[in-house]
């Protein structure tokens, strides 16, 4: 039996959040954390979680697992709670809780919206698609894979303190993805929007985002590239 402690909060009935303990029979298997939560929901259907693809693609089930943000569907018990240690599940930190493990991601998406996450190109559209060389396409590797699960941004203290003003690691990784895209012509406009004391420069490079990204991406490195682009533009 695995001891699982889960953050519970229903704003309609609870005065404040609390941790509720469960015993889950894993039958000695190295289950994914999401499987454990599904087993748990069989005994307590009132637990609210987000989930969809259960294979690390949709980014729905980001949560804090034994102190570290991650996707429940791709985090095995052997990694999160080795040797039968208790499992402690909380919602992603820093954003308001809607209920139990479901958070309100409005601020996260507002920051994503700010960086204009789409190609801007004011040149006449070609007859077919805008072509890229293999080298130009390679620049997008390590950037386009972001699934917006918010594990990185909600692990970032700068985002906790200023989620309305600091873009956050996820949004900045996406910002660089469009800044470096050879098909995008709005580089100057994008950089001008980022050159303030908060949007980019609240990153202090502690790399908490890198440590938790379930896709193995490196937002700190992307932020460093944005800083260099801002420096080249201004120097």
């Amino acid at each position: 039996m695995l001891k699982v402690s889960v953050y519970r909060y229903n704003p309609e009935t609870d005065k404040e959040p609390y941790m509720k303990d469960y015993q889950v029979d894993t039958q000695g298997k190295d289950l994914m954390v999401l499987d454990v939560l599904e087993l748990l929901k069989e005994t307590d259907p009132s637990l609210a979680i987000r989930r969809s693809c259960r294979e690390g693609v949709c980014g729905s089930d980001g949560m804090n697992i034994n102190g570290k943000n991650g996707l429940a569907c791709v985090t095995p018990l052997s990694e999160a709670a080795p040797n039968g240690a208790p499992l402690v599940i909380r919602p992603l930190p820093g954003l308001p809780v809607v209920r139990d493990l479901v958070i309100d991601m409005t601020l996260f998406y507002k920051q994503y919206e700010k960086i204009k996450p789409y190609l801007i190109n004011d040149t006449p559209a070609p007859a077919i698609e805008r072509l890229q060389s293999p080298e130009e396409r390679a620049h997008l590797d390590g950037l386009y894979e972001c699934i917006l699960c918010a594990c990185c941004s909600t692990a970032c203290p700068s985002f906790w303190w200023n989620p309305d003003r600091f873009i956050g690691p996820s949004g900045l990784l996406q910002a660089y993805r469009f800044l470096i895209d050879s098909r995008d012509t709005a580089t100057e406009e994008r950089l001008a929007d980022l050159d303030d004391p908060f949007s980019v420069f609240r990153c202090h490079g502690i790399q908490a985002c890198v440590a938790v990204c379930p896709k193995g991406l490196n937002p700190t490195k992307a932020i460093g590239h944005i800083r260099n682009m801002l420096l080249s533009r201004a120097a």
Partner: protein
């Protein structure tokens, strides 16, 4: 774009660059002073005074004083805009933050004047 009227350079890039530039000056000064002390184990008051009586050392120390003020301003401004916000303190946050910023700017200015008085008078 987010703007902030109380930031040192009004631009994220200039504050970031200045923070690093001043850090290098502070490190250079620290290394020099420690090196000087190691090279002069039997240092007397006259040796110390002789060092600071030279124009280049007074200039180097003045530059370091400016660096301390700029570095501290940018650093404390970041701290105050992290923790003294409406999200953490409610409506009174702006008054508290402005008071804090005004107080430390006066303290930094006082240190600057005091340092210059010692160095150049």
């Amino acid at each position: 774009m987010v703007t902030q009227v109380t930031s040192f350079g009004r631009s994220g890039l200039s504050d970031w660059l200045l923070q690093r530039f001043t850090a290098v000056i502070l490190l250079a000064y620290f290394v020099f002073i420690v090196g000087f002390m190691i090279c002069n184990p039997a240092m007397s008051f006259d040796t110390w005074k002789g060092l600071f009586d030279t124009t280049w050392m007074a200039a180097f120390t003045s530059l370091t004083l400016f660096a301390v003020v700029a570095h501290a301003w940018i650093g404390l401004w970041s701290v105050s805009t992290d923790y003294m916000t409406t999200r953490t303190m409610g409506d009174k946050a702006t008054v508290i933050r402005m008071t804090f910023q005004a107080t430390y700017s006066l303290i930094l200015f006082y240190y600057l004047v005091w340092g210059f008085k010692i160095l150049w008078s």
